[in-house]
Symmetry: C2
Subunit: 674 residues, 2 copies
């Protein structure tokens, strides 16, 4: 056996000596690869596992700043148990933000905790008091001015106590219990703060910066409304214009619309133009799809002559702003065969071996009126920059919200670059991802920068499906903000096709109360359009995508007043302006779904009958804690839709909802004051 041996060990690195561990930080998206999302008005809640070997106590804090600030603000973290710590801080400045988690051994706290345990067990603590004096003396050495003097004086006082106490130690527990000055000195008060503040920091550990993006409150909460300007004409004999949309603004304001989203307003190609209901051959008067962008009149930076001029567009943006309505524009990065880029930049498109440009396909489906851009072209840098120019063009025309068409068919790297570049310049600008595709793809688009995302809500109909899906979304809340739509120009669900008014109301209430951002495609929604192109299809009959429609806003069955009421409730109730906390409550009837949200004192409880045909009733088992209601006190629920009031008592309450009346309760919950 070898008992003397050459040294085989590399000396430990200095960092090995740092003892506290910081793990499991949230919010942190893919280890910091992407920014977690926050919006003005949010409290950012930071949590982390923080611990150290042995028995020492820790002090932990979150430090945060806007990127580029010189100073950090600090917030102490509170232990939640099981080595989990939490702090929260408000954000009010739009732009990139970051935070770190900072941990250090709390030598003073550890010393006082151990001293108390020793005193309690009647142990000799003279040497321990001497150690306290030494800790204070060392702290004094790191302090200045009055702090230094206070620490030095306290250290001397403790050292004196040691000398005095050596003879009368048995009295110490009584003296401490009696509130002796020494006890104050050691265990609490301003001295403890000083002792911690000037404690040694040689074991301090700081996490890497965790990136956040703070967006406008509009990213978190808004009532959206989509309409086709060419269908906004009050005159059945001519198509609508942007000027007509200006005239529509009072109606939209009555509906409580915050964001007015317009499909593309650009010139539409004629080559391979689609006809009514998407027919492959268009008639001479068919207007074509607004998504077949570009003609001799221009491309992505032009306004369709039939809709008006750039000046009309500017006037619409300004008039909407006066009513508090933000105009959102569609970004559909694709071209009609007549788009100026086809001639000017043929290299931006994919060609087939016969020299023809590939039209859009998802084989065997073919979209002959659209040429996809080839994001992978050797000339990709010029193409990407040209697309960025489009965004800046419309930003310069007052657009700060973009709804992006099919972002999942363009590279993630493109969006990350584009949105990053835009936000570096204009952090207030928002992008909504219209990607109805696979979960990982939708999540990635949210991570690379989209402020909001369309979701599967449209197809989630049963209680189980809705609860599962909202629970899944809660797990992505650090980076993905859902925007719920009961319908879109592409999606008329079979529920709306067959469920009648109860289905429209139920889907409206679900969307408007489950998600802080939601929208409807109107006037098709409030006018309860439910005819599909053909059985089994989710396409609207006579879809506005391919035809001009004229809408009778005064139709007697219009849900406009209900939409206005629901949106007003959302404006009045902060609980509905955040996605979380969302709590599902048990009802013993699978056709009834119940959930609540709260924000400060505002608590809203929603019950919806998912059955569009039959009245449904059942017993609610409320989670009273989620409603901030004491179990031994009655409370009042005020139905914000019908203005009815009910006095409830305890967790178990009976609910009945008739689809022939209003198939939902939206209840403000208020405790009855003693």
């Amino acid at each position: 056996m070898v008992t003397t041996r050459p040294r085989r060990v590399a000396a430990p690195a200095p960092a090995a000596r740092l003892r506290p561990v910081i793990e499991g930080i949230r919010p942190l998206v893919d280890g910091g690869r992407f920014r977690a999302k926050a919006a003005v008005g949010d409290d950012v809640v930071v949590e982390a596992d923080v611990f150290v070997d042995g028995h020492d106590l820790l002090r932990c804090e979150v430090r945060h700043q806007c990127d580029g600030d010189r100073r950090w603000a600090a917030v102490p973290m509170q232990p939640l148990g099981n080595d989990r710590w939490r702090a929260r801080f408000p954000v009010d400045a739009v732009g990139p933000h970051r935070f770190t988690v900072h941990a250090d051994v709390d030598r003073w706290g550890t010393w006082t905790r151990d001293l108390a345990a020793r005193v309690g067990a009647g142990q000799d603590v003279a040497a321990e008091l001497g150690e306290g004096a030494a800790l204070l003396a060392a702290a004094a050495g790191r302090a200045k001015g009055a702090d230094r003097a206070a620490l030095a004086a306290a250290s001397g006082c403790l050292a004196d106590a040691v000398r005095g106490l050596e003879t009368d130690l048995p009295d110490l527990p009584d003296r401490l219990a009696a509130g002796d000055t020494l006890a104050d000195l050691v265990f609490g008060g301003p001295l403890a703060d000083l002792a911690r503040r000037y404690g040694p920091s040689d074991t301090a550990v700081t996490s890497p910066p965790c990136p956040l993006v703070v967006e406008p409150a509009l990213a978190r909460f808004a009532n959206w409304y989509e309409l086709f300007p060419r269908s906004a004409s009050p005159d059945a004999d001519r198509p609508g214009t942007l000027a007509d949309v200006v005239d529509r603004l009072p109606y939209l304001a009555r509906l409580g619309v915050d964001v007015l989203y317009l499909p593309p307003v650009h010139p539409i190609g004629t080559t391979s133009r689609k006809g009514p209901n998407g027919a492959v051959i268009a008639g001479p008067d068919d207007p074509g799809s607004p998504w077949a962008i570009g003609s001799a009149d221009g491309g992505h930076t032009a306004v369709h002559p039939d809709l008006g001029t750039l000046g009309d567009f500017d006037r619409l943006v300004a008039a909407a702003a006066e009513r508090g309505i933000t105009v959102a524009l569609d970004l559909a990065f694709q071209c009609s065969p007549d788009h100026p880029w086809v001639a000017d930049h043929p290299q931006w498109f994919r060609h087939r071996p016969d020299g023809s440009i590939r039209f859009a396909e998802n084989p065997p489906k073919q979209y002959q009126d659209i040429f996809p851009l080839d994001f992978d072209t050797p000339d990709w840098v010029a193409l990407w920059e040209a697309l960025a120019e489009v965004v800046w063009f419309w930003m310069d025309h007052g657009v700060s919200v973009f709804r992006v068409d099919n972002p999942h068919t363009k590279p993630f790297g493109f969006w990350e670059w584009l949105i990053g570049a835009v936000k570096a310049d204009r952090p207030d600008v928002l992008f909504l991802s219209e990607a109805f595709t696979r979960p990982r793809v939708m999540e990635r688009l949210a991570k690379v920068g989209f402020s909001q995302s369309y979701t599967y809500f449209t197809w989630r109909r049963t209680k189980w499906e809705l609860q599962e899906y909202l629970t899944e979304l809660a797990g992505k809340a650090d980076y993905l903000r859902p925007n719920f739509w009961p319908n879109t120009p592409d999606i008329l669900t079979d529920q709306l096709q067959t469920g009648g008014t109860p289905a429209f109301i139920a889907r409206l209430v679900l969307a408007a109360t489950l998600a802080a951002s939601y929208g409807i495609y109107g006037p098709a929604f409030e006018l309860q359009q439910h005819a599909a192109r053909e059985p089994g299809s989710e396409e609207y009959a006579g879809s506005e995508k391919y035809a001009v429609r004229h809408w009778d806003l005064d139709a007697p069955d219009s849900l406009a007043d209900l939409v206005g009421r629901v949106n007003a409730i959302r404006h009045d109730h902060p609980a509905l302006q955040y996605d979380h906390p969302l709590t599902f409550h048990h009802v013993d009837n699978d056709q009834l779904i119940a959930y609540s949200k709260s924000r400060g004192d505002d608590v809203v409880l929603v019950v919806v009958n998912l059955d569009p045909v039959y009245p449904q009733a059942g017993w609610l088992d409320l989670d009273l804690a989620a409603l901030a209601v004491a179990p031994d006190r009655p409370f009042v629920v005020h139905d914000l839709l019908t203005d009815a009031h009910y006095r409830w008592d305890g967790a178990r309450n009976y609910v009945a909802l008739d689809p022939a009346a209003v198939p939902a309760h939206v209840l403000a919950v208020r405790p009855v004051r003693p």
Copy 2:
């Protein structure tokens, strides 16, 4: 409005163009900060979310190598659905390993898929065939030799087909269906492999290397046994020695022991030595605690003179090895007041203001016979290196397994450095973490390098507790290997104190069949020692920690034969040599727990009666898929403990277990061949 504007966009970085995304890789511990664990004989199962924008198909593979190898081995990944991919590869070389996930757009696969869809829809595919010819020609340009010739020929053939097909395209579906050569050419066979192999790699993405550590199979599976050498004397008149342990080896071999773990064998201090049952004052003949290490006879690299010599130790290691038993040594990095380091390196200990060295404490608890080392001493580098010397000393004496005492009271950075340094030199050396502390701390010790971890198994007794805990451990399997112990010298649970033989058997079977690594502290276990020091205590009466014991191995109630049988079953059944897969099966009696493990053809189903007093019976609802049993075929279960055979049919089966007989079934499951 500004319509012309200066360029405000930074050009995209070249990497922005790479389209595939790789996310959610596992195994990957804290984003690669730590090595995931594998053992010789494992299949490493790698999974990742891999996806790309649009509709293109991907090809994905895992590449892996031993650190330092020049070449990577590649394994194709298979899609599991929902953008999840999986591959597996075996590991057989001990040491650091790594893998990457590699993804690329499968242009050939995408082309053939789209072509099939187009043909199916009766579309004109002449241009598409031309594109296929171009893909093959480009691949030929990247290939050499025979591959190049084959690709060029195929490209020409396809191009010829285009020219020919332009006139008879309507036949194509029939020709493809009839197995025409063209179909073979396009859709399958060796050409497809070549086309993929030499496809363009300009969109290829590779994940960062993901680190693994491959450890000996012993890290995954072993029967452990702890004994105190000083209690191994066959002669009641003298304490045991290392030579007595050599004589005990045949007994241990009969028990099926793989790892023999010895508490510290070093000289024991006399200052403040503890007496029987941990008494503060020791009598003159009391031997003291083996964990109070160090006396005038030496420290951590010496053998207690009463146990023998270093030569005796070497002979024990060699004799054990001859029987296939590995000797594991205790690493308890602390000193008695008489340890040579106290005089030679006083700066390695913490001093109080009065100059005395601090003994170990967890206030108000005091351990006067032990001085903790001050890992944070200004002289920390020298201290850490001295501790490393201790490890190398014993490695040089044939020790390759260390059980580490209370690692959670030393800095994580110390263990990461020490274990990393040891494994760089001797990747076969294993460390078992004896940290009975908070979950995050136990997890971190596993992450920084410990091969195995003590667990809370000892205190998990109900079916719900056991299932919850095993499920929790499954979530940590990438880095934490549990080692289950029904008892230790510190822990005599109330179950064993009060449950009699049924409790001993049930806990033995649970430990031995739930975890691939388990151990008992004997002979206290097999001799069913159950007397506690005092009511409410988990300490053994007359604990061997403070006293020499003499054991009657021939006692009639010894469970040695049963332990031997259980350990033999473990040696015979690969299913029990891995922690996973572990499946719990439903039994309609909460006192009965049922679970199964499988490995290849080997399937073992275990049912245990958790009630030590009453017989319990119930209906099992078996997950037949987990048992690899066809639902429509009978199967045989063979009780490996009692040798009974039962013929079962279907998922629902009756079980009854009487604690007065054997309170457990360990059933080998075998389908009846048709």
